[in-house]
């Protein structure tokens, strides 16, 4: 190795150790679950860290314990379960690190989900940075509910943004999710234009809310206008979260709404692919 190259390496090492002096590993945040061997959310085998607290209150939400930032108690299978704990990035990474061999083999890595991770922006950024330092791929599932300046700070550590868009109509969005969606649609465009991450649009297909071809196509058409977006995933509504509502002493807002059938989903996929040319995947 030549002397100048050597010096450059030295400088990089110095820089990275300076970097370490920013104490990102000790940033704390609140999570409610860590799920390993997740294979249906992004590339390869992934570990999903679920951050607690959400800005929306979507009626179909399958993780109701994710919504409040407060630590809650839920009754599951007759047992009390505490939902929510405060952890440092270091603690989370210790768990994430355990599946390194599987990430290396599958190109997988760390995924943040929630809740809305952007409500804990420093924690989210520190987690993703720690993931990159581990050398694994990073992904975040979020609907972009934050100022773009906040999102901008996260993007350098993020490989794939799984971006939730539930509806294009602000009114209907507000009625079903508690807030309207203008900020989120704007952010989607800014993120796409930044070119910093692979952006995948995800759409929950919810009966009575957006389960018509026209409504889904409207989202797909919007996605098509985002530079660099090639994929849109449509996720059929399911009621696996129903017990959790009961466990939290809440009513299940979806009642006995039916799950969209496989044929119906295939029809949506065909319509979206036919009109927009985007790759459409059923499920995550």
């Amino acid at each position: 190795m030549s002397a100048p190259a050597d010096m450059k390496v030295q400088a990089e090492i110095r820089e990275s150790s300076m970097d370490e002096s920013f104490d990102y590993l000790n940033v704390t945040g609140r999570i409610f679950d860590i799920q390993r061997y997740s294979i249906h959310d992004g590339i390869g085998i992934r570990t999903i860290v679920f951050l607690k607290g959400c800005a929306l209150r979507c009626r179909w939400c399958c993780n109701p314990e994710s919504q409040s930032h407060d630590i809650e108690t839920m009754i599951m299978n007759g047992k009390q379960k505490t939902c929510g704990r405060d952890v440092t990035v270091r603690e989370v990474i210790e768990t994430v690190r355990r599946d390194m061999p599987y990430y290396s083999r599958s190109k997988g890595g760390l995924t943040l989900s929630g809740g809305e991770s952007l409500l804990q922006p420093e924690f989210a950024a520190a987690l993703l940075k720690a993931g990159k330092k581990l050398g694994v791929s990073t992904a975040m599932e979020s609907m972009g509910f934050a100022k773009f300046e906040t999102i901008e700070k996260i993007l350098p550590w993020l490989d794939t943004y799984l971006y939730d868009i539930k509806h294009t109509d602000p009114k209907k969005h507000e009625k079903w999710c508690g807030r309207e969606n203008t900020l989120m649609l704007e952010n989607a465009r800014k993120i796409a234009e930044s070119g910093e991450v692979k952006l995948i649009i995800r759409v929950p297909v919810v009966p009575g809310f957006n389960d018509t071809k026209e409504e889904l196509l409207s989202i797909a058409r919007f996605a098509k206008t985002l530079p660099g977006v090639e994929e849109i995933d449509i996720l059929p509504y399911h009621n696996f979260g129903e017990d959790k509502y009961r466990g939290l002493g809440r009513d299940y807002p979806m009642g006995d709404a039916p799950r969209p059938g496989a044929e119906k989903m295939k029809g949506f996929k065909a319509a979206i692919e036919g009109e927009t040319g985007l790759y459409c995947q059923i499920g995550g």
Partner: protein, 843 residues
Amino acid sequence: MKPFDNTPVAKSDRISALVQDLFRKMPEIEAARAELITESFRSTEGLPVVTRKALAFRHILHNLPIVIRPGELIVGSTTIAPRGCQTYPEFSYDWLEEEFDTVEHRSADPFYISEETKQRLLKVNPYWKGKTTSELARSLMAPETLRAMDHNMFTPGNYYYNGVGHVNVHYDRVIYEGLSGIMRQAANKLKEVKFCDPSYGDKKRFLEAVIVSCQAVIDYAHRYAELAKREAEKESDPKRRAELLKIAENCSHVPENPARTFEEGLQAFWFVQQTLQIESSGHSISPGRFDQYMYPLYEKDTEEGRLTREYAQELIDCVWVKLNDLNKCRDAASAEGFAGYSLFQNLIVGGQTKDGRDATNDLSFMCLDATKHVFLPQPSISIRVWNGSARELLLRAAEVTRTGIGFPAYYNDEIIIPAMENRGIGIEDARNYAIIGCVEPHVPGKEDGWHDAAFFNMCRPLEMVFTNGMDRGEEASIKTGDISTITTYEAFKEAYRRQMEYNIALMVNADNAIDRAHAELAPLPFESCLIDDCIEKGLPLQRGGAHYNFTGPQGFGIANVADSLYAVKKLVFEEHKFTLSELARALEMNFGAGFDEILAGEAAMGVARALKEKGEAVTPEIIASAVRSVMDYKLPEEEKRRFEEIREMITELPKYGNDIDEVDSIAREAAYFYTKPLPEYRNPRGGIFQAGLYPVSANVPLGAQTGATPDGRLAHTPVADGVSPTSGYDLNGPTASCNSVARLDHAEASNGTLFNMKIHPSAMTTDKDLEDFVSLVRGYFDQKGMHMQFNVVDRETLLDAQAHPEKYAGLVVRVAGYSALFTTLSKSLQDDIIRRTEQGLGR
């Protein structure tokens, strides 16, 4: 290396018809072999045993009824009834006579037996009284060994009552040199033996026996050639007639001569596979690296335009059907331990060549596809995985796994090869390994590994620590001190180590006694001549003729011992929640969960013994009343609550299987208690012992002989299977479970480890799922895991199959180192499979 063609070929109609024919009735026991061997032995009294064995083998092969089943292309059947079995009274026979009236209706592996067969067997069996290997073996064992077996510390049942099997012979030599080549080698060796050689006589009679045995197999093939010819003459369908004539031609040429075509090669393979199992009743006679030794013929035939891939696939599928035509009836207890009519004929694809390059070829894929086509428990198909494995092959394997058949089992070259080298095996031989039976690595054509030499229940010595060596009211093991005198965790561990050491030594004693019995009474000249260096040494396999010799007994219950040690460490010595004495009492009282009949019976036997020792009369009435009083005994409510509380504290503790270093390191140490002492011991064939960590399916019946354990396990419930975590205790998903298991030192368990994982079908749906599944296997192997196998089936399906067995006759599940039809398994084993944690998706 030649590029491979992995295009799948469709299944032919012939295969469906063959499978249907195979299952048209219940398996049946036949008497012909027992009669023939007895007839022969009666006429050869006084001759050397190896000569008598060869003459008997010839007599059987000359006279055993033969049959060509409708539509077969590869022929050779040991019984007239499909999936039938012969009996082997020279190894043991009492059990079958005792089970004459129950064998047809027993829960595990029932067999039909006709009244006529019973009568025929009753006529010949008495000849073998006092002449069986099991009787001789028993007489060679130490009294302490018999006592330990009586107290279920271990069971060497497999070879105690049966032939050994468990080899992978030189199929390649028969295929490419013919039996005539082997006979020539033996004849030449016979000429070379020096007149002054002190073993001249032994060598001469062994080599002569080899020649007689090989000729007998050739004669047997010729009988099939004649039969095929006769049937061809009667056959009206011209297509079938041509097939029969082809069969006749094949059988008159092989296995005598080198095979000229792929089809002849397969027929030669089959005669070897079948007649080995006529010679002795050993199971796990494993075809091994079939894709490697069959490949040169396949390559030549396809290149020269003689063979289409379609026909090649159909022929391979035919061989797969034949592997399911062989069967074996075991005694009821063994049938529970090896449930599922399995012969464990392990066949492995992929891996590396002797010179360390990727071995994947067309046949590797076609073998996996054959398993998909035939969809039956045999062969036990396996795949070798190494860093350079073809990705396509692993994905094809994952597709087979997805079907839920439980195959293939995955093996890691990167740990098995160094583990074998560590036992003194040369690198080329190690790279060429195959798998025997369930999970045992083996050098093809060069090894006598005695791989399934015993099951050692690691929980029993732990019980002995708590009872100070007492069991059922009598001394069953050494005294390691009253439990109240053990005051540190280190001392507790030391007591366990001593209990283990003592009982392991007794197991070695048992195995060596059985080994000697086989050497004396059961030399097998045909099997021997297909393994190096028997001909060169002029010695049968059973006297140490093989190039490599091992004895591999299995330990099981790692998870229970690990969780138990952790519980003692944590709750007794660190947190002082209860004392060892209190725990001992809780175990004795089954944590307050009540007594079942077994516990009551054991307690009553203790009472009876105590009375006897006092010189008092023990009548059945006294015993019955003792049982009743134990059954009716009610623990004081307070004590019961305390025991339940203790069990709850134990249950709350972290467990092995959740990727927790502290617990997993204890598991590693616990495994060492079993694996480390063994290689210090030698067997009579000049080899060493090496440990395996797998239970086949014995964790269920042997669990039924084990009292409550400090991991919270109740008395007589199954112990953990293989190196897998306790059913239902691994809660952090498949990667966590894998990481824990990989933390054991698999290289020390060079006779194989077995890791069962159940995967929900939803995690095996898309192409991406399969890719991730392969990454899961590779991630486990990157951490030096050795073996992995999967049940891909949901709980609801299994529960439904239990309730409506008629709807699920074809449901194959992974049991242990093999798969079996779920509905043929005993209820308790079915329950155990259902309980194994279903690893899938958290959400």
